[in-house]
Subunit: 208 residues, 2 copies
């Protein structure tokens, strides 16, 4: 959002904002989302709760911004080539290798406690609260899914995916199974699973 | 649970139980899960709330039993051949046709308002509350997924699915995309989508 304030004030705002993000993520990891409150976040961040309400309307909104920021920080730490950045999934010319790399990285992220607690809380809030769910899906999930669509289209151009495949459907064969095992615990979530998904989807379950 | 009561008492219990199920499903559909309470269910069912607490410990437990009962009622109404019953997914000898029939029926069920509101509430409660989630997944989701595993194994025996495919992974290519589109609204959920999922998974995305 555009802020018409002096540079010093902007720096202070930025420090408060980062402290609020850190406090929200820490509390959700330590005491869980249901017990996390705006008051608790404010106390831990060392700001007044009015500072939080000036920027956000609910703890779910705070946590979503904090989670998006966590992804941006991770991408910056990993360098500009990180696939989670707007650059998209890497294109080495080998769709099988590139999809396996992305799915393995996604598995690692889903199993990382720093991501797991807030991501699960946001998913739960999104399922329970349709308005927040639409915002969560639109701001976090759809952009990630769009990266698959772009990489699949490039593979179609390279003749590695059939031209008649709808990339918006094909994309779901990779993302949805990971999400289901992570959210609902329907089976092991590891690199072997990621690899098998890619092989099954690319080459099919029926004999060639 | 075994009830050591006279037949007359059993019939009254059965009537109360059915009234409680109907009340729980109706309230969740009308006012939503968050506003539905044990007190509200009891009032609508015409029973004391102690009657409910004698059998269940929370509104989530009541709703899960009611939802399981709804599935049993629907299966009985549809006759013994209904795939949702323990009989499993039909085996006509054509895995593509059988999977398409099941996925289309699942799409219809997910879009049916009688199922949508309670199923969404149970999914949300399961994501937010890990202990309930494990029970929900174990009692409702895993048995449904096991039907896919059994049908895929039969297709392996018939040579329609490769022998080296793990049916517990293959199963996820069908169930998880439907669940993601339904829960998170990431794209249209219709029969054309169901058909495409089956074709992509069976024959692969890459050129044959």
């Amino acid at each position: 959002m555009a802020q018409k304030t002096a540079p010093d004030s902007n720096r202070r705002s930025e420090r408060s904002r980062r402290a609020i993000y850190d406090a929200a993520l820490a509390l959700v990891g330590e005491i869980g989302y249901p017990k996390t409150t705006i008051e608790g976040i404010a106390a831990r961040a060392g700001v007044g709760k009015q500072t939080i309400y000036r920027w956000w309307s609910s703890k779910a909104e705070v946590l979503m911004e904090a989670f998006i920021d966590l992804g941006v920080q991770a991408a910056e730490a990993a360098g500009a080539g990180d696939w989670a950045e707007a650059d998209g999934i890497p294109d080495t010319g080998d769709i099988e290798a590139d999809l396996k790399a992305v799915l393995r990285a996604t598995v690692d992220e889903l199993l990382d406690p720093r991501y797991d607690a807030p991501a699960r809380a946001l998913a739960a809030e999104g399922v329970a609260n349709p308005a927040f769910g639409a915002e969560f899906v639109g701001r976090l999930l759809m952009p990630a899914l769009e990266l698959y669509v772009r990489r699949l289209r490039a593979a179609q151009d390279a003749g590695q995916i059939r031209a008649d495949v709808d990339p918006y459907i094909a994309r779901d064969l990779f993302s949805a199974p990971l999400a289901q095992r992570w959210l609902q615990g329907t089976g092991p979530l590891d690199h072997a699973y990621a690899d098998a998904l890619v092989e099954y989807a690319l080459y099919g379950l029926s004999p060639r």
